[in-house]
Amino acid sequence: MSGERAVILGALSAIAEETARLLAAEGARLCLVARNAERLQALAADLRLRGAAQVETAAHDLAQADDAPAKLAEWAGALGGLEEVYVFYGALGDQARSEREPAAAREAIDVNFTSQALWSLAAANMLEAQGAGALVIVSSVAGDRGRMSNYVYGAAKGGMSILGQGLAHRLAQAGGARAVVVKLGFVRTPMTAGMNRSGPLWVDASTAARAVREAARKGGPVVYAPWFWRFILLAIRLTPAAIFHKTRL
């Protein structure tokens, strides 16, 4: 489908940029939302050259979600309509800090869950009303089981996965609009820079982007990307606590 209109929340993330390039190659119309206006301009110039029919940019702090419905309507209006909403933004956060400092924990939860939830609800309302379109929530396998190494981030992602599942269920009633949660595993982006990124489980941003783009087209409500994470997480979820607690995962 070309000429598709999409709003990308958190357009400056590595996976979001790769996804936007895939959309641009299809001649899509895009509205890119993130905090840094100058960086958005650089992205927009690149995407227009790569084939996007139209690129609008909106510098907005997505952590501020109270005016989500109005903002979404404004951005959809600039494109003349809306087929897809991608929720990309988030922050891995500092697990240790979140444990020690309530303010850090609150911020991690607010950014990764509360604000994302509000944007997602607003997007779902909009898509439901028009009876068409897809909401793609980019989540993480970290949300499948609380693990000592990243449970604050994991909790937010887990919450978003459940929210997304619920939205998918709701939107399926009226037919037309859809919601999909894409659970990504290990991806080589600046967000994971501090980790050991070698090994066959790691993919690069463009591979993750292809999975996200596919999920917008079809599939869901929950998609693991790449596919093998479904089985890895099944094993992780089924591991009894007595054994899991012996690890430091």
């Binding site: 400056l12 590595a14 940029e17 840094n36 100058e38 960086r39 650089a42 992205l43 110039a45 690149d46 050259l49 790569r50 600046p190 820079a193 501090g194 990124r197 070698s198």
Partner: protein, 436 residues
């Protein structure tokens, strides 16, 4: 160590013969660069896809700024045939953008897996050097960020522009590059393989082919002094989508399959396959110009010890004798080279002070890093090159001496005067500081 730079044990030079630990920062936006330069412990060096074989892309006592995240197109004018892009854009992605539009870079090295910045910093050359010159000939303007924080826009004629082309990243961080483009009739190349039995035959073929063929290069079986001359032109065919790397060498074998036992058989096989008469085929540009890109990670087949590359150029006047001497010396030493490429360069000069190509012939060989014998052999090859008035290609080098460097690059001192003091590389410390 600032958290902007993380130790990366997987980062290595392409040849992998030397593997000191690198600290790497990976920005995604230009506005991150000045801060990164400030935070770098000691010195910094911008790098791209890591295709330099030796130590010109390493900075062991400082940090590396890996630029591939800065890969955005900035401006494009199809009629004027110009393109401006961030320095971390790979030539491969540029070609995928340009080829369907009937355009291409004016030249390309043997792999498209290099960044625009890397292509400029090494002033890379390709099979069409005798027609188009080196990559630096197509650069119209470039954006350079110095560690002082100064952002400069450089144009031909300025000393710093000339120093940056082939400047190994040592004059500043190249942020963006604007290049002239070439028009191509289609994305395929009509190629012909002609076998030859001696280096004299090679030179005759090269002279005969220079006018009528844009892309020429030869593969050589060093032990026998024979080879296959490949020559081609852009074909007026419909755009063929380039093959993506289907084979992958995903690991380093503990014992490399590329060793003297297999070398003989390998060379026989290649010669047999390639020399079944003068074969004409139309192939995609990727097959003709970037054959090894079809095997991802082929360099790892050399095993954990890695390999050395020796690429030299000798001036036209001495080329036949010098190339003959180089090949004889390698054959006599019994050290084999799996991928020996021989090509003639044309007279088109590059604006780069430290540009490698000169009118004459270039010979590139690879040697498994099996010990001192190989290093001594390469020293002997250097001596032959020096005597002929030639030089060694830094992008491939990991072991040449400071004297060889000084002898080969007459504008070295001028270049050293234009370096950015906040940037450095292992190559610079090993060779340039000693040579100056």
């Amino acid at each position: 160590m600032s958290e902007a730079f993380a130790p990366d044990p997987a980062f290595r030079s392409w040849g992998g013969a030397i593997r000191p630990l690198q600290h790497v920062g990976r920005p995604r936006f230009r506005d991150q660069l000045p801060d990164l330069l400030q935070q770098a412990p000691g010195s910094a060096l911008a790098v791209g896809m890591g295709r330099s074989y030796g130590d010109s892309g390493l900075n062991s006592s400082g940090a590396l700024i890996e630029m591939t995240g800065l890969d955005r197109l900035i401006a494009f004018d199809g009629e004027a045939r110009t393109l401006r892009a961030e320095a971390g854009t790979t030539l491969e992605s540029l070609m995928r953008f340009l080829a369907p539009r009937g355009l291409f870079t004016t030249t390309t090295p043997g792999t498209a897996q290099v960044t625009l910045g890397g292509a400029v910093a090494n002033d890379v050359h390709g099979k069409n050097h005798h027609a188009a010159g080196a990559f630096g000939c197509a650069v119209r303007r470039l954006g350079l960020l110095r560690t002082s924080g100064e952002r400069l826009e450089l144009a031909p004629g300025e000393p710093l522009f000339a120093a940056t082309i082939g400047g190994l990243g040592l004059t500043g961080v190249i942020e963006w590059v604007e290049i002239d483009l070439a028009a191509i009739p289609g994305a395929a190349i009509d190629n012909e393989d002609v076998p030859f039995g001696s280096s004299a035959e090679f030179f005759a073929l090269a002279r005969e082919s220079a006018q009528a063929f844009e892309h020429t290069a030869a593969w050589v079986d060093v032990s026998r002094g024979r080879g296959v001359f490949s020559r081609g032109n852009w074909a007026p065919a419909a755009a063929a989508a380039p093959r993506r790397g289907r084979l992958a060498a995903p690991f380093e074998p503990p014992i490399s399959p590329l060793n003297p036992l297999t070398l003989r058989a390998f060379n026989e096989l290649v010669f047999m396959v390639k020399s079944r008469g003068a074969k004409q085929r139309t192939v995609s540009y990727a097959q003709a110009l970037h054959p090894l890109d079809g095997v991802t990670g082929w360099n790892r087949l050399y095993g954990r010890r890695g390999f050395w590359q020796h690429q030299s150029v000798v001036p036209a006047a001495n080329a036949e004798d010098a190339v003959g001497a180089l090949l004889k010396t390698v054959a006599a030493a019994g050290e084999g080279s799996f991928l020996t490429v021989l090509k003639t360069f044309g007279s088109r000069a590059s604006p780069g002070l430290m540009s490698f190509p000169m009118e004459g012939a270039t010979l590139a060989m690879d040697f498994p890093a099996r010990g001192e014998g190989v290093l001594r052999l390469m020293d002997r090859l250097d001596a032959i090159v020096r005597e002929a008035g030639g030089r060694i290609y830094v992008a491939k080098d990991g072991r040449m001496s400071a004297e060889t460097m000084r002898a080969g690059y007459p504008r070295l001192e001028e270049f050293m005067g234009l370096l950015d003091p906040g940037l450095a590389s292992d190559f610079q410390r090993r060779v340039l500081e000693a040579a100056a």
